[in-house]
Each structure stands twice: as structure tokens, then as C-alpha cells.
Subunit: 326 residues, 2 copies
């Protein structure tokens, strides 16, 4: 049984999904869908068609699961419910505060169509969420800490690029080692925003730009930088391309608790990712397998990774998992 | 809704389960069952009866889930199927090679009775298994490494105690830092047994015992020590009691893979446990919640953590999990 996958949206994440499909023998990419002119898009998989998003409207029989690679701000709140009316769908919706509303919208559409919609897949939300829930269930008398980085925050990089005189920028979020060590020790410290992470910015300024003004605009920027210790480095465009073209990321969920008086237990889940979009794409693809299987069994509605028995994500049989992975 | 829990077997693990129940407001311990004379057992929870195992035979209505805290060698293969005929049951069966047969026996009994039996819960098998499966599903082009320790191996400690002239012994399994670092680097090294772990033994010898002979018997013992670099320390009984009375353990599952050519991704799950039995007991208790809920929904048969949607393990509602943990 081969699962037929469609990708909607071909940015970094769409390409990450495409790479992941190639690593899974039980799946095949049957089409990439775009809001752009399809003729302008060159994809990495030979022999696969690029089509207009409009061609999804009627409902296609060459798609078992549609993986929607859009942005959380404006794309996914519209797209995921819309296409859940016709397909099993997967998204990586990551605006944490709006997850309940998004879940409700996708749930209504997917229940009406009899399809499965898995939302908020990826690593945070996604694998980090799973680890927060497992750890809290096992050690209810405990506390979880999430650290991000070292990695590129695209939102913060974009915020710097909007400053006058900035040609390009890359922002790295870096966890503070002393804070990680304190949490790993089991001492359950109270940590401020500033104590948990620092921010390091690499900026290409335009010729003649006021670098001091740019630096001040960055480090005082509310929400993005003001609450952090931020360092700014001005570099050339060549250095930017040579040293900062990747999208590494990762981080840790550390849950520390006690099971009886003074008996400490620490659970840590850590990701070290050379490519954030390729890893996220790999999680979406595993979720596509789960959505397909669950739907084949008659399940419908919105789901998150918290609702999926782990075996559904694996290409291996239940017997093989019990014999060799348990 | 309060879930009524019975514990069968009151050794280290049974006491760990008892401690965990106290931390979960949605559960209550309604009885401890033992093969010993109940009058000889003093338990930590006031007001809870200790009864003979025989009193489980008829089927009791004050038990929603029976957590079976027996040994994997001879107890659980008999007990878990037997009591799955009357109760939802949980065990920590950890003889990896025999899991398929144990699963089949429990599955048959639980399907016949309409109950749920969750086997092989704990951390390995258990949380480590989950992490092996999640990581393999996400990064199929990768390899998993499991490291144990630093922690006390009770089987290895017992093996030393059986040597002539040994009064007491404690064996620590210790992962080799260089091996951990090589795996974390993403280089996917080939590692021999000797390269992954060392073994450190603390031994109390009888007066006049031949310590050189004891040391030789340890380091050359097949299966247990011969394939490892093992160090032996002779200590006094007072030192043993003062410094080695705990049962710490833990370890790491590290899965390293690539998502496209040369792009490395590393997933690490790490446990640092001051009490192995209390942590294992906490996992069993979370599984008891899941078994109860799944059975209430009409599910029956044998399950492992791989078959359980994570939300079933948590005392929190699906809405709360989505709003605050996703």
C-alpha cells in the first residue's frame, strides 16, 4: 500500500516535506500545489507535476493526504479547514495561543467530511509538546522548562530586516548554559526570560547606514529583543552567505520532579537540528502516515500528536515494533 | 471520577507505585496484595488493607486497575495473563526477547475478559521504547543508540552476590562519555559492547575471603562482565550502607539521522533518575489511568505504550493539554 501525498506550498517547509517523502518507501509524492504560477516552480522530484492550488478544489483521487505548508498567521487558519473538507490534511500551525480555535475549525470541517486533520505537527508544537505531556503525566509533582536553540529564529531575523539601513539579518536564539545546568540539577529554579536565552544577531548594513542606530533599534525592540541580552555583529553580505545560509535549530524540554520526599527525577528531550524545515517536514510526513491509517480505520476529525498512538507514525508493523523496538 | 488501584507485590517497585499513586489526585489505592503472610507487611499508606493474593481470585469491585509488581523471569508470565482475566492490568515485563509471547498471552486473556492489559511499561522497555519508535518514524534514515547509566543494575549486583566470599555487592553501569559524544556528533559510529559501557563494582568480602579470586571471578564472568572493562572496589559493610543504598539509574536514547544529503539531525531522550523503582512506578501509574480510560471506551486486549495516545496518560483534559501543553 503506497500513500499518495500532495504538498500545498513550496517554501522551505514544502521542500523539507518533499525530502522526507523520498526517505519513506510507503509514500509517493503525487503533486505540488502552489498559489504562484506553476510554470515558475522547479521542484526537486523528477516527474512530479506542479499544479495551481485551484486544482485542489474539486477533490482529487491522487491524494490520500495533503500536507499544507503555509504560514500560521494568515494561510493555515483558512487553508487547513478549507481542505479538510476534501482531504486528510496535516499542518504545522504554531501560533500557540490560537491552537484551540484552529483545532475547533479543523475539527468541524474534518468531521463533516469524514477526514482526519492533524494540526500543529513539527517540533514545537509537536515533539516538544509530546514530551511536555509525557513528562507531566509521569512526574505530576514537577515542572517543565523549554529551551530553544542554538538556532535561527526566522521571525526575529525578519524583524531586524525591517529596520532602515538593514540589507540582511540572521538572528540566533541561544540557551544560557548556566540556566540549563540549574534545571538539569533538579533544583527547579525560577528563571526570567533574560536568564533563559540570549540573542545574537548578524546584520548586513547598507553603505553609509548608521550602525549605532541600527544596533540600538535592535536591542531595544519591544517583544523581540528588549527583554534579552542581545549582541549585534555587523558583517558583509559575503560573510552572511558563507556562514549563515543554513537554518539550524533545536532545543530541550527538561522536566524535573520528585516522586517522593527529596527524590529527584529529571527527563530531558533534546533536538540538535541542522535543518529546521527538513526536520519539521519529517514529522509532518510521519503524521501523514498516521492520518491515513486512522482515517482508513474510520476515524475523523481534528487530531494533534497528543491524540495519536505512536505506532501509527511508524512504517513498521506492530509485531516488528514489539519484537525489536520495545 | 476516582480510579481505584490495587497493587500486587510489595517490593521496591510496589512501593514506587504506592508513592506515585499519592501524587495523583484522580486515583486511590484500595489494597495491596501479596503472596506473603499479609500480617507481616507494613505499608506506607495509612488505612489501606494488605490482603492475600488469593483474595484477588474471585474478582473484586474495589479494583479498576491492578498493577502487578512481580519479576519478569517467573512471576509476570503467569500473573499478568491470569489477572487480565478479571482486571485491567499493568506490568513492567522487561525480558525483551520474550515480549511477543507475553503480549500474545495477555492479549488472549484480556480480549476474552473485555479488559485492557498494558505490558512492558516503565522506562526500558517503556519511555525508551517510545523514543526509539518516534525517532525511527521521523528519521528513518538513521540509527538509534541506547546507553544505560550511570545506575545500579540489580541483575549484575545479584550475580556478584552469588560468588563465594561475597557478603554484599552493588554494580553500576556507566556509559562511556567518548561514545556518547561520538553518537551526539551525528557520526553514527560502530560501537562494540566494551566501547559503550563500563561496569564498576563495590563489593563487601567476608573476613578472610580471597579478594583476588573474587575480583577475577567478577571480571571474567561470561555475559555479565567478560565483555566489559570492569573495575572492582572492596569496601566495608558500613560504606556499602552509607554510600550505595539508593537505586539511581537512567540513560539516553540517541537517534542520529540525515534528512537529506549531509544534513544531520540528532534526537536525544535522557533520564537521570535518583530512584529507578519510583520512576518506573510513576510510569505504571500513568498507564493505569490510560488502561482505565481505554477500557471505559470499550477497548480490550493487550497494549504497550506504543499503542496508547499520549493524552490518555495525562490527568489533564484534552482542552487543557491543547491550550497549555501543545
Amino acid at each position: 500500500m503506497t500513500i499518495k501525498i500532495g504538498i500545498l506550498g513550496y517554501g522551505n517547509l514544502g521542500r523539507g516535506v518533499e525530502a522526507a517523502i523520498k526517505q519513506n518507501d510507503d509514500m509517493i509524492l503525487t503533486g505540488v500545489y502552489t498559489r504562484r504560477d506553476p510554470s515558475t516552480l522547479k521542484i526537486a522530484t523528477e516527474g512530479v507535476a506542479v499544479r495551481s492550488q485551484a486544482e485542489l478544489e474539486a477533490g482529487r483521487d491522487d491524494i490520500d493526504v495533503l500536507i499544507i505548508c503555509g504560514g500560521s498567521a494568515t494561510d493555515l487558519p483558512v487553508m487547513t479547514p478549507k481542505f479538510a473538507a476534501k482531504y486528510n490534511v496535516i499542518d504545522s500551525f504554531d501560533t500557540h495561543a490560537n491552537i484551540p480555535a484552529h483545532f475547533a475549525a479543523v475539527d468541524a470541517a474534518a468531521k463533516a467530511s469524514g477526514k482526519v486533520g492533524i494540526i500543529s505537527a513539527g517540533w514545537d508544537p509537536g515533539m516538544f509538546s509530546l514530551n511536555r505531556v509525557y513528562a507531566d503525566a509521569i512526574l505530576p509533582n514537577g515542572q517543565a522548562y523549554t529551551f530553544w536553540g542554538k538556532g535561527v529564529s526566522q521571525g526575529h531575523s525578519d524583524a531586524i530586516r525591517r529596520i532602515d539601513g538593514v540589507l540582511d539579518a540572521r538572528q540566533y536564539t541561544i540557551p544560557v548554559e548556566a540556566a540549563l545546568d540549574a534545571v538539569r540539577s533538579g533544583s527547579n529554579p525560577e528563571l526570567t526570560t533574560r536568564q533563559k536565552h540570549t540573542r545574537e544577531c548578524f546584520v548586513v548594513a547598507a553603505d553609509g547606514a548608521d550602525k549605532a542606530a541600527i544596533e540600538k533599534a535592535i536591542v531595544t525592540m519591544p517583544n523581540y529583543f528588549a527583554d534579552y541580552d542581545t549582541t549585534v555583529h555587523f558583517i558583509t553580505m559575503e560573510e552572511m552567505k558563507r556562514n549563515h545560509s543554513g537554518l539550524p535549530h533545536g532545543g530541550s524540554v527538561i522536566h524535573s520532579g520528585t516522586t517522593s520526599d527529596g527524590v529527584h527525577q529529571v527527563i530531558e528531550y533534546k533536538l540538535t537540528l541542522e535543518s529546521n524545515p527538513e526536520f519539521t517536514g519529517s514529522v509532518l510526513v510521519a503524521c501523514a502516515r498516521a492520518a491515513y491509517r486512522m482515517n482508513t480505520e474510520g476515524t475523523s476529525g481534528a487530531k494533534t500528536l497528543l491524540d495519536i498512538a505512536p505506532a501509527y507514525l511508524s512504517a513498521r508493523s506492530a509485531d516488528e515494533l514489539r519484537a525489536h523496538y520495545l
